[in-house]
């Protein structure tokens, strides 16, 4: 990312650092640019600094160092109520003493909007989240999912260009969560608003976002569209955090262009794609997605390295088979195979040979 297009983003974090206690940095050198209309998700384990970033953007925390720009203008010294950023809180923060209508009216009233205009906008916002009939209810009379919709409507009713959401679906059950994931993305794209969304749930991040920023330890580990993030994790943390992942430790034996051979600690040789390794003799951790492990030799490249595996467990899951293997000393090596008519159903104790395409096996950093 060059210096010029960095400043072009609608939301820009430029070398932002944050410390609460003056001793430890919660956010370390954050650089991030969100384009207008983009749906960006900050994904990371709890305590990785996602909420802190969002709070700095909303204006409830000040950046200890660095600059945050909104639409090209630095906003470090703009108070929260002048930033015009919509926000959905994890506990929804619907005002309990106001009805749904009053909650939605609030942002319009403080902007001095006339009553008739307010009514039109409130109605439109409620219809948008299919809650038009609930205008006179109190938040306490709504279910969690309904409160969630109202919180969303309230954050959108004053037509902000940027909306922040901090784990907004955390309190909902799985089915409702999936439904709301869909609703939120639909609305965000329909209205063309820029969204910064925080979650620790990787499925949520993958299904909803245009781009995902994976946070760990106060840094962005990788910022990419979901497919790239899943298929081409740039380091061990991301590979481990996103989706299911098998790892094997070893040493790089050979590197030829975009392929390499890794000698595992058990002595076996496997094919891999070098990502975070550059020279022979380096320690590496290779990462293979369970669904890319292949037990059918015909599907492998000519002369590919294969490795012996012992079947420990066979789990029938309906659409897929999940086979737990012991591979090069790793007893938690998972192979996922589609339930096809010709698919072999292995039995515990079977000795099989497995392999993979070199591009699906990524040689990453070893920490």
């Amino acid at each position: 990312m060059s210096a010029s297009d960095k400043r072009d983003g609608f939301v820009v974090f430029d070398k932002v650092q944050k410390s609460y206690d003056g001793e430890t940095l919660v956010v370390k050198d954050l650089n991030l640019s969100v384009a207008k209309g983009e749906f960006l998700t900050m994904l990371g384990p709890s305590g990785s600094g996602k909420t802190t970033c969002l709070m700095m953007l909303a204006g409830f925390e000040t950046a200890t160092n660095g600059e945050i720009l909104l639409d090209g203008k630095p906003i470090n010294s703009v108070p929260p109520h002048k930033r015009g950023i919509g926000m959905v809180f994890q506990n929804y923060a619907l005002f309990p003493h106001m009805s749904v209508g009053e909650n939605l009216s609030f942002p319009l009233e403080v902007r001095g909007m006339a009553k008739s205009d307010r009514e039109v906008k409130i109605k439109r916002a409620l219809d948008m989240v299919q809650m038009g009939n609930f205008i006179n209810r109190r938040p306490a009379q709504l279910s969690g999912g309904q409160q969630q919709r109202i919180a969303l409507a309230r954050a959108l009713v004053f037509e902000p260009e940027l909306v922040l959401m901090d784990e907004p679906l955390g309190a909902l059950d799985k089915q409702l969560r999936e439904h709301m994931q869909f609703e939120i993305t639909r609305l965000a794209h329909e209205l063309g608003i820029t969204t910064v969304y925080v979650t620790h749930d990787q499925t949520e991040a993958l299904t909803m976002s245009d781009n995902v920023a994976v946070f760990d330890d106060g840094r962005i580990q990788q910022l990419d569209p979901p497919d790239k993030l899943y298929e081409e994790p740039r380091n061990s943390f991301v590979a481990q955090f996103i989706g299911e992942n098998n790892t094997l430790d070893g040493v790089v034996k050979e590197i030829t262009g975009d392929e390499c051979v890794v000698q595992l600690d058990s002595g076996d040789l496997i094919d891999a794609q070098p990502v975070n390794v550059s020279k022979v003799g380096e320690r590496t951790r290779v990462s293979i997605r369970p669904e890319r492990v292949e037990a059918n030799k015909e599907r492998l490249k000519e002369g590919a390295h294969t490795i012996k595996a012992q079947v420990l467990e066979f789990i029938y899951m309906g659409d897929v088979f999940r086979t737990r293997l012991k591979v090069a000393g790793n007893e938690n090596f998972i192979m996922k195979t589609r339930n096809a008519p010709d698919q072999v159903r292995h039995k515990p104790g079977d000795m099989i040979e497995i392999g993979w395409l070199p591009k699906d096996c990524r040689a990453l950093d070893h920490d």
């Binding site: 204006g59 409830f60 929260p80 005002f95 942002p107 403080v110 004053f158």
Partner: protein, 435 residues
């Protein structure tokens, strides 16, 4: 399954019914009885748990209150002391002095009383009782009764000689009026009224009107004190609620300090601070804010009472406020700001309304406690910082007019109950949060 089989199918367990259609348990007992039996035990346990406190409250709280209310209307003195006189007075027209037969009856009553053992004599209480109504009554009765055995017929003249009061139709009207087991006269006195010569209730002379004004002042001071505790307590409760638990607890000790200091220590501290030659006055003089001649009087008056009671009652405001504020997550204010509200608007429209249950609870507590407060006004209130309780205490301890004290106390109790009822109507007690 074929329809014909359906009748043979046994109903599921738990849905069996007896001949009257009542539900049965699986072993055949009526479900309702089984439930009652199961619940009886629980009820007994509950009763056992509350019984000691219930007994305590009945004996030491409810019973004295009923006693007090009874005493405010109880009027045995005249009925017990003068049964014959009262019978004779029934014939009286109520205008001029009664006739000979009434005086004879009075003579007989007094003579009969003379013969009783000293502890059972009724003339003493009668003298005290009638003295509440007319101030010469005590000496009239005591002096006449002392010499009653030397009296001879005609008794009317003998009584008129014995004391001039017997020559006044007023005393007879009073005896007739108070010659009933229940009286309203304590309440009449408690609202600054009295009976005139015709037996009508009229305003008392200006120099004897004290209670209504005192009730008003007590009420007014309680309002001021409630407001002061709110004004001082709200910010501190807010600050405490934003602190982490450990620090908040430490500061809470400072707020609760008035609870833990001995009353006398606290009062002496107030005297040291507030008196004419006290710390505050000295400081103000030293700073040149006031002249040496114009030292402020801040104690032994209303100011003293208000300052000291505000201090003492502050915790009753802070605790409910704190407990309510503690439960308001900061995200509400943040949400308001993110929606475009200035910090002031966010406070006024979002934060403050949510603290109302705490304010209401604190306000009711402080107001009700202060309206009946006794000790502080007694110690630092001086003359114009006295409250109604001090007057009640005076009647119990020194003037010994327990009937009037009971009437005042009952009025105080009833006015608190009315206020609470009003409050409940307006705000609703279910929204109260005491802690």
């Amino acid at each position: 399954m074929a329809p014909s089989d359906a009748s043979d199918t046994p109903t599921a367990i738990g849905n069996e019914t007896d001949s009257k259609g009542r539900l049965l348990t699986s072993d055949g007992r009526p479900l309702r009885a089984a439930l009652q039996r199961a619940n009886r035990r629980r009820k007994l346990t509950a009763l056992g748990l509350v019984a000691p406190l219930l007994a305590f409250i009945l004996i030491f709280f409810a019973y004295p209150i009923v006693q007090m209310m009874w005493r405010s209307v109880d009027n045995p003195a005249v009925v017990e002391a003068l049964p014959r006189t009262l019978a004779a007075l029934e014939e009286w027209d109520g205008n001029d002095l009664p006739g000979e037969e009434v005086y004879r009856a009075l003579y007989e009553d007094m003579l009969a009383d003379e013969e009783l053992p000293r502890a059972e004599q009724k003339m003493g209480p009668l003298a005290v009782r009638l003295n509440y109504e007319i101030s010469a009554a005590r000496s009239a009765i005591v002096r006449t009764a002392r010499n009653v055995d030397e009296m001879e017929a005609p008794y009317k003249e003998a009584f008129l000689d014995a004391h001039r009061l017997w020559n006044d139709p007023t005393i007879w009207r009073i005896i007739e009026r108070e010659g009933r087991p229940l009286t309203a006269s304590y309440y009449v006195a408690a609202v600054d009224r009295e009976y005139n010569a015709e037996g009508e209730i009229v305003q008392a002379p200006e120099n004897r009107q004290i209670y209504v004004a005192l009730f008003g002042r007590t009420f007014m001071m309680s309002v001021v004190i409630t407001f002061m505790t709110f004004a001082l307590g709200f910010p501190i409760a807010y600050y405490l609620s934003t602190l982490p638990m450990s620090k908040a607890n430490l500061l809470m000790i400072a707020v609760l300090l008035p609870f833990w200091t001995s009353l006398l220590v606290r009062t002496s501290a107030w005297i040291v601070l507030l008196q004419g030659q006290g710390v505050i006055n000295d400081m103000l003089v030293a700073l040149g804010v006031i002249d040496d001649e114009n030292r402020l009087t801040m104690i032994y008056n209303q100011t003293g009472t208000i300052i000291a009671m505000t201090h003492i009652l502050l915790p009753f405001m802070v605790l409910p406020l704190y407990s309510v504020m503690k439960t308001i997550p900061p995200s509400y204010t943040r949400a308001a700001k993110s929606l475009g509200a200035t910090p002031w608007t966010a406070f006024r429209r979002v934060y403050f309304p949510q603290t109302l249950p705490g304010i209401a609870a604190g306000g009711v507590l402080v107001f009700i406690i202060s309206i009946g407060y006794y000790i502080t006004p007694a110690l630092v209130g001086g003359q114009d910082g006295r409250m109604i309780s001090n007057e009640i205490a005076r009647h119990i301890q020194s003037s010994l007019n327990w009937g009037l004290a009971a009437a005042l106390g009952t009025m105080l109790l009833v006015s608190v109950l009315i206020l609470y009822w009003l409050f409940n109507k307006l705000v609703g007690t279910d929204s109260l949060k005491f802690g």
